[in-house]
């Protein structure tokens, strides 16, 4: 019974979601439901901040500094995508009251993921998250692309869940435990079966964070799904899966890190390089952002591969900056609206600095930040990653990282080029959407002024990692 108190935020959100689901049937006001959902997510943030650090359900669910920080980040991502939803629901043909509810369910799943300290809790969280996401991806039933995205995501996601479950069964079979800490205690470094288990679980998780070579679904799903949902994909699940990955690897297999380090090493390099090259050829902004997120995950994985305090800290710094940048980018994407139609091709941005000078200037700076150009926040994300890599003598990773960042600078610059150097087109009317400005301006200003006082982000990361190492 005591354990239930420790999962109060999750329980609270679950009750809210269920109640909203029923009220939604009678209450036709989607805006109100969305508002209530946002409010309850804020309440959840408050609950999380005031939670005691404990482990519940026989240590299979832990509440610690790490889960606290990640949960707050996930909730921020969810709130951002709900705000995006309210600004675009009528035009995108997703005027369905289940949207905020599915987001909440998925958020609960993610919160379980980052708290999971047990293979089963991990799987439950992952599935709750994924099932909600499958539905969300296909939410626009009239769009072929959206349905395709949903199906594709579902089939590949089911496959990856299968791989994950297969890996879990191996790990359980060869270690006799499902609890991360107990696995660590009883680990047999010689056991080949465990390695096979790790490989399969990593394959499943790599799918969730969309790291190469399990990234194939990302561009299609990003492009097909309605933009607020794409934003959600880019924000919250990546963070949750990353947190899960860290806890899984660090808590249970810290002793045999040599074995999994090379896997992370490989997928990190592959993600950075593939994303850098593949994104060059994209013409659709959402596809481009998909490759961009693959690349960013590659950088974040460097932090995991280091297996040091520094590495973990840099990972968290990177994820926080990644979150803020992506909120800005997707809010920007949603503001590309003209006569009730949305535009998502790079060429549609042509010359938009003539009509929207301030907005264009900010998004150009976000692009530079994504490319990692100082003094913007994105640079500091990469800076800490490289510090961690060099400190743990992974110079090769760092060199690949900087080369990939130069190559990827090209496609970010191309967006700036189209916005600034090309001939202007018609005006967008997106700037009138107040709720988007709420996301867009604060996040881009945060990115720009980050360098003046970076300590909060660094302190939060240091606070978060103390429970892992």
């Amino acid at each position: 019974m005591q354990s239930l108190v420790y999962i109060l935020p999750e329980i609270f959100l679950f009750i809210v979601a269920t109640v909203l689901l029923v009220t939604g049937l009678f209450l036709k006001n989607i805006k109100l439901i969305n508002l209530l959902a946002i409010f309850s997510l804020l309440v959840a943030v408050f609950l999380i901040l005031n939670q005691p650090f404990q482990s519940a359900f026989l240590n299979s669910f832990v509440v610690d500094e790490f889960s606290l920080v990640l949960k707050v980040m996930i909730l921020i991502g969810s709130i951002a995508s709900l705000i995006m939803f309210v600004s675009s629901k009528d035009d995108l043909n997703i005027n369905i009251y289940e949207f905020p509810i599915l987001i909440i369910f998925s958020t609960i799943g993610m919160m379980v993921m980052v708290s999971a300290n047990d293979l089963l809790a991990m799987f439950i969280g992952l599935e709750l998250q994924s099932l909600s996401l499958y539905v969300l991806a296909a939410l626009n039933r009239n769009s072929l692309l959206s349905s395709e995205a949903g199906i594709k995501y579902f089939i590949l996601g089911a496959l990856s869940s299968g791989l994950l479950l297969f890996g879990i069964s191996y790990i359980y079979g060869f270690s006799g435990n499902t609890n991360f800490n107990l696995i660590a205690v009883n680990i047999n470094p010689e056991s080949l079966g465990l390695i096979i288990g790790i490989v399969f679980v990593l394959a499943g998780l790599a799918f969730k964070v969309s790291a190469v070579p399990f990234h194939m679904w990302t561009p299609d799903v990003y492009q097909g799904a309605p933009t607020p949902i794409t934003g959600f994909f880019a924000l919250a699940p990546k963070i949750a899966a990353m947190g899960l990955l860290v806890r899984f690897l660090f808590n249970s297999f810290g002793e045999i890190y040599i074995d999994w380090q090379q896997i992370i090493f490989f997928i990190s390099i592959a993600s950075m390089m593939l994303a850098a090259f593949a994104a060059i050829a994209q013409t659709n902004l959402k596809r481009l952002m998909a490759y961009s997120s693959i690349g960013h995950i590659g950088y974040a994985l460097i932090g995991v591969a280091c297996f040091t305090d520094e590495g973990l800290r840099s990972l968290l710094i990177y994820l926080m900056i990644y979150l803020i940048m992506n909120i800005a980018v997707f809010a920007f994407l949603l503001s590309l609206k003209r006569n009730d139609g949305y535009f998502e091709n790079i060429s549609d941005l042509s010359g938009m600095h003539k009509n929207h000078p301030l907005r264009t200037m900010l998004i150009a700076l976000i692009m530079f930040s994504l490319a990692g150009i100082p003094p913007l926040a994105g640079f500091f994300g990469k800076f800490y990653i490289f510090v961690a890599a060099i400190e743990s003598e992974m110079l090769f990773l760092a060199i690949i990282g900087v080369i990939a960042s130069v190559i990827s600078a090209f496609y970010y610059l191309r967006i700036v080029k189209v916005m600034y150097f090309d001939e202007p087109k018609e005006e967008f009317d997106g700037s009138s959407i107040k709720s988007l400005n709420l996301l867009y301006y604060p996040s881009s200003i945060l990115i720009i002024i980050f360098f003046i006082y970076p300590s909060p982000v660094i302190n939060i990361s240091e606070y978060a990692i103390q429970s892992i190492i």
């Binding site: 600095h353 003539k354 000078p357 301030l358 200037m361 150009a364 700076l365 530079f368 150009i373 100082p374 003094p375 640079f379 500091f380 800076f383 490289f386 510090v387 060099i390 400190e391 110079l395 760092a398 060199i399 900087v402 080369i403 960042s405 130069v406 600078a409 090209f410 610059l413 700036v416 080029k417 600034y420 150097f421 360098f451 970076p454 300590s455 660094i458």
Partner: protein
Amino acid sequence: MSEIPILSILIFIPVVGIFFMLLIRNNDDQSSQNLKHTALWITFLNFIISLSLLFSFDLNNPDFQFVEKYAWIESGISYHLGIDGVSILFVILTTMLVPICILASYESIKFSVKEYLISFLALETFMIGVFCSLDLVLFYLFFEGGLIPMFLIIGIWGGERRVYSTFKFFLYTLAGSVFMLLAIIYIFISTGTTDVETLLVYNFTANEQLILWIAFFTSFMVKIPMWPFHTWLPDAHVEAPTAGSVILAGVLLKMAGYGFIRFSIGFFPDASEFFAPFIFSLSVIAIIVTSLIALVQEDMKKLIAYSSVAHMGFVTLGIFTFTVQGIEGGIIQMISHGIVSAALFLCVGVVYDRLHTREIARYGGLVSKMPFYSFSFMIFILASLGLPGTSGFVGEFLVLLSIFTVNTYFAIFATTGVVLAATYSLWLYRRIIFGALIKDDLSEMFDLTRREIIIFLPLIILTVFIGLYPKPIINIIEPSTEKIVNQIKVKLD
């Protein structure tokens, strides 16, 4: 020492200016005039403040002055500013050139005036920051940050092939610099700090020095630029608007020269000594090859751009002699080139604004229509080829003097560069200014306007003043240069 954080003020006044510009919202002619005036006054104010540096600067103190140090990212990486005899002149050069650039853009920039001026102010912040930073991370921040406004300046207001040029400029310099970033991180991890003052007395092992030197060198080599990585420069210069070329030649190239003096030879003297013959060879090749290339150019800006590469060859020659004269010569050559090449690009801008072409063959016989212009142009051409009595002579002379004491062969080749410089400069001047005025469209040309005279006057005065009486400049530079040379000697022993 004063309590006022004067360097921070210098760095952040342009940022305050940007906020002011953002407040001016209308988009008509009147407001764009207001914007230009605002930017001009802000940068001029910055120039005046930077002059106050000169007065309160202690000439006998070779150490860093006006030092500010605050905790910034974490222990070891701090917000640390300060200038010494090496950097003070670059700061003043920057603050002087920016108002001139803005004045020079009064007529030529017709659209997106606000973005243009904001880019320039941001660029000024970054440029001053580079010369004031006493922390490697801070330095890198400013060094790379300058790419963003410059990318926009070339890309938006540039010529026909601006997209190609600005991408080339950006990616070249970025690719060069990222290895410096890795080197900085390595230094941070192995020494626990990126503070320049601490690192200047730190001894890196010989192997570390070699690797780190190469990493810094890739960045500075691309930026300064040295042959064979100079090809972005002519493209960027040709396509950039006049003011962009002025800043590019006047200040951005100097960042790398400054980096060589402060970091390459300061941190890694053994490696620098080891690589000195390599640098000398590259410099001499640059001087001769790019001078020859300059001879055959059809485009005025391209010609001046190639001559910049040659002049920068002298700078690197001087720096890597590790003698007081050599480094002083390098610095004076950079200051002089900052003034003279900036002025030459402005000269091109003057005729370009009138005829909208930079093709040398389209001009000829301008002296009869534009006497004042021809006079100013002549001064700068002569300074560019290093005529005694102009600023160009002092630097080149000191450099050649120092290189003779180190290696005669390199000196001989470098001296032929001076002859070649005379050839292409005078020939350019002859083709544009002299001869009969036979082309029809040239008859419409009018002489310098009042605004243009205001632009050229300070540059002419400085060019001649430094040429005739370089002592005040040398007095500023000497103590710090001696200190650098002594430190290198101590480390090498």
